[in-house]
């Protein structure tokens, strides 16, 4: 599978697309920084002993008054901005990736089954998808979050913030996967290899996941990339609105929310460092998604 991908037209196109290479580099850099945050960050935003108020509100190193220990300055608590965005990206990417994976497993499973079996099951799944598609993802996520707040006792809710947020995002993104998987499965199931597998009496699950799934991976990969960006954006938006993560476990959205308080007071770096970091991350993922779309659907080029 991997070797085939390596030699494919897609990889050739990748080597010849500077935008895609640049985007991939930025994404990998951010991902690497997020993964290695505990080892490369100079202070831990969760650990009060690693920073002190004395270092508060220092500007980035190139401004007058900047300190070489804090490349991008510090916030009002004396937290190093570089460490803050690395840890923030860690949390944002964790939630985004988990939400995207849950959404893809749920959506692809339902879509495959709907396309394969058709009939009443297909009708029910697709009606639900239609209704949910009419509601924008952010509304669905807000609603699920609100319901969780009502159902869970407050003490439990505090510990489950990340889980609730991830599930709320996942449940608002599965529709894309389901629709794409279903449409592709419809096409595949009438092809001879699927018909042959069915006639041989193979189990429907085996036909779906062993025969059909590998052949519809292309379009799904595009959705995965695009939805990863959406999931990260959703998390950031919810946290920015104060619905997502609390201030003591700052994701990129929370950092921007905190930075907003300094919008008028001249400490621009507290707001713009996490904001630009988030935009760079999402733009690079979207460029990759766009690139993949072009590769898998050459007619659009």
């Amino acid at each position: 599978m991997l070797a085939r991908l390596w030699d494919s037209d897609g990889f050739w196109a990748f080597r010849h697309s500077p935008a895609a290479i640049l985007a991939a580099l930025v994404a990998i850099l951010i991902l690497g920084g997020a993964l290695l945050a505990p080892w490369i960050a100079r202070s831990n935003p969760y650990d009060l002993t690693t920073f002190s108020l004395i270092d508060g509100l220092l500007p980035p190193v190139w401004e007058t008054g900047g300190n070489a220990r804090f490349l991008l300055g510090t916030d009002d608590q004396g937290r190093d901005m570089v460490s803050a965005i690395l840890y923030g990206a860690r949390l944002s990417l964790l939630i985004g990736l988990m939400a995207m994976l849950i959404a893809s497993v749920l959506g692809v499973g339902l879509g495959l089954a709907a396309g394969y079996f058709g009939g009443r099951f297909d009708a029910v799944v697709m009606r639900i998808a239609d209704v949910q598609l009419a509601l924008p993802a952010i509304l669905t996520a807000l609603l699920i979050d609100g319901i969780a707040r009502g159902l869970l006792p407050p003490s439990m809710l505090e510990n489950l913030r990340v889980v609730v947020l991830t599930l709320a995002i996942a449940l608002s993104l599965w529709v894309n996967f389901a629709r794409t998987a279903r449409a592709s499965t419809f096409v595949e199931r009438n092809k001879e290899y699927v018909q042959a597998a069915m006639i041989m009496g193979q189990h429907p699950l085996r036909v779906m996941f062993w025969h059909v799934l590998p052949n519809i991976l292309g379009p799904l990969l595009v959705i995965m990339t695009v939805d990863l960006a959406s999931a990260i954006l959703l998390e950031a938006t919810l946290s920015f609105l104060g619905i997502g993560l609390p201030a003591d476990s700052p994701s990129l959205g929370t950092l921007i929310r905190i930075g907003m308080q300094f919008l008028l007071s001249g400490e621009w770096w507290i707001l713009w460092v996490p904001t630009l970091f988030l935009v760079a991350l999402v733009v690079s993922i979207n460029i990759l998604g766009d690139f993949l779309r072009d590769v898998f659907n050459p007619r659009l080029r």
């Binding site: 009419a134 509601l135 609100g146 707040r149 009502g150 159902l151 609105l241 935009v279 733009v283 979207n286």
Partner: protein, 324 residues
């Protein structure tokens, strides 16, 4: 034709009932209404009596029918948080959101459609490449960041425009409007731009895709071969045929505008329904959440119904199909 309209109406009623059921389930199963209305000192007997009075011991279906009946009569219940009637709270906020959404939608269409046509007709042009790159960045930048950027530029750096609230409003009947004062327009500009930019990129990309599709079709090639002037070809023959998807976009975008108005209203402290909804989530104010859903669903259904009717008016083929 009549059959088509009746069928659509029936579907709309069904959707509304489904949303009402959702709102009712929220109200009934998320949190306990009785404990919300009573204090710690209320005795168990009093609670039981209240439960009986409110009809919470009746069968689920009976309760749902009563709930729907109340909704239809405009009785939306009381907020857990402010103890005010929810109907009043929502009605107060509707004008702000609708004005914001409408202006944003108009911005997105006025700029988005021509830009989409242009980029479709000159796919290799430099301006096209620049526009497409801008929209890609535009889609990737979250609404709230666009809002922050606009506040920073026009509110803080240049100091031209106010950055929060609705500014001067005029009361017309029960409708508080900010469209009739200069101050109101100044306040409206930044939020509407924030909300419009994201929609704009979507409009442009969809119009472009549709237009390119149409330009490839046989009848356009034939029209080109016949020597029809380009202006006429592009705008009369091609653009007219992209109108169906464009109208669909408007219908779909309405949903996006409403949803993202939650974010925009939060950034600009715009006193609309979105801000109310956010507050109600934060305080688990279930009645307000439920009614917000019902009201939004009602607007959705209404807009989609109008869109469907417009299809029939615009596309002669649909009318023929009905007749056959």
């Amino acid at each position: 034709m009549t059959y088509f309209i009746l069928k659509r109406l029936f579907q709309s009623v069904f959707v509304m009932l489904a949303v009402a059921l959702l709102a009712f389930s929220l109200f009934r199963f998320v949190g306990d209404p009785v404990s919300q209305m009573t204090g710690v000192e209320t005795s168990v007997e009093d609670r039981e009596r209240l439960r009986e009075e409110l009809g919470l011991n009746d069968a689920f279906v009976t309760q749902f029918v009563r709930f729907t009946g109340d909704l239809l009569q405009g009785d939306f219940g009381f907020s857990y948080r402010t103890r005010q009637p929810v109907a009043e709270m929502i009605a107060d906020r509707i004008p702000a959101t609708l004005e914001l959404g409408t202006v944003a939608l108009i911005i997105s269409l006025i700029v988005g459609i021509p830009a989409g046509v242009y980029t479709a007709l000159r796919p290799r042009g430099l301006a096209t490449q620049a526009l497409l790159l801008t929209t890609l960045v535009g889609v990737s930048i979250p609404t709230f960041v666009i809002g922050i950027m606009l506040i920073f530029l026009f509110g803080v750096q240049l100091g031209w425009l106010p950055t929060f609230g609705r500014g001067g409003t005029v009361q017309i009947g029960g409708w508080t409007s900010s469209l009739f004062t200069v101050d109101g327009w100044r306040s409206l500009l930044l939020p509407a731009l924030t909300l419009g930019v994201y929609q704009l990129t979507l409009t442009m990309r969809l119009v472009r895709a549709e237009m390119m599709e149409v330009m490839r079709s046989d009848y356009i090639r034939f029209a080109t071969a016949r020597g029809i002037p380009y202006r006429r070809l592009h705008f009369r023959h091609a653009l007219a045929n992209t109108m169906i998807p464009v109208i669909t976009i408007i219908g779909l975008q309405f949903g996006g505008v409403i949803a993202f108005s939650i974010v925009t209203e939060s950034v600009f402290q715009w006193p609309g329904m979105g801000l109310l909804f956010l507050e109600s989530i934060r305080f688990v104010d279930i009645p307000v959440m439920g009614v917000y859903l019902v009201v939004i669903a009602f607007f959705f259904v209404l807009v989609n119904l109008i869109v469907d009717l417009l299809y029939v008016a615009i596309d002669p083929r649909l009318r023929v199909k009905e007749a056959a």
